[in-house]
Subunit: 133 residues, 2 copies
Amino acid sequence: MPKYITKQRKILTEYLSEHPDESLSANQIAEALESKISKSAVYRNLADMEAEGKVRKTAQGSGREVYYQYTDNEHCRGHLHMSCKKCGKTYHMEDSIAELLVEGLSEKENFSIDKSETVLYGICGECNKEVEE
Amino acid sequence: MPKYITKQRKILTEYLSEHPDESLSANQIAEALESKISKSAVYRNLADMEAEGKVRKTAQGSGREVYYQYTDNEHCRGHLHMSCKKCGKTYHMEDSIAELLVEGLSEKENFSIDKSETVLYGICGECNKEVEE
DNA sequence: CTAGTTGCAAAGAGTTTGCATGGCG
DNA sequence: CGCCATGCAAACTCTTTGCAACTAG
């Protein structure tokens, strides 16, 4: 969608690739880069990047929308994602499990899941550990 | 959370139970009931109902938050939900598949999924059919 | 040079809040 | 009758848009 590679776009891309597994709102990103990119440029670029499939837009449990980087990123494509409600980190689901799910849904419910838009919520291993301690 | 059962609350509950499987935004609901409940009452009641677990708040793919009824509702509790990106309907996942997923994630990834907050996105059987025709 | 992109500020959309009035129990 | 909930409007937050200035190619 964009035709020029601008300085701002580079900064944004760089910032996102430095925070690959965090869920960040457009506003958070805009504020973090406040001195370097205007808010409107952040919004416009995120929208472009979403259209290009370089970034995914999801919602965090209770609140506002969030974005996070994903394309260009090694193991993201074609994987299902899980987000920890506690620490906010994103995880990639093991293929064997994802396969079972995708096939099961397809065969038994005739539902074709969209891997890139689906995010499972729960508590990750790390955070589960903490609770038990 | 609420201490009184008001006329408005009844109307809202009734409206939601009449639209059990649709994803409705707070605004849509408020507009549909415009003549009967004020916008602020809709928002306040939805927030209360969410706290009580009578309603779930989720996000539809690209956009804003949505709500939909779920407690009091027979087969909702303890089930994973799937939402069709095309028609917007909500489906309940068959137990056998859900079990596999929940156990698989727990054992292999140590991730405990939150069934009530997770919604899988994709295309449902009905809509898949249409595409093929 | 020329069109796409930025920055700013103003406009929108959705949601929240303060306060007086009204209604449930 | 007392307290909670409602309604309205104003306040907020997040996001989008118009337009002149800037800049990548």
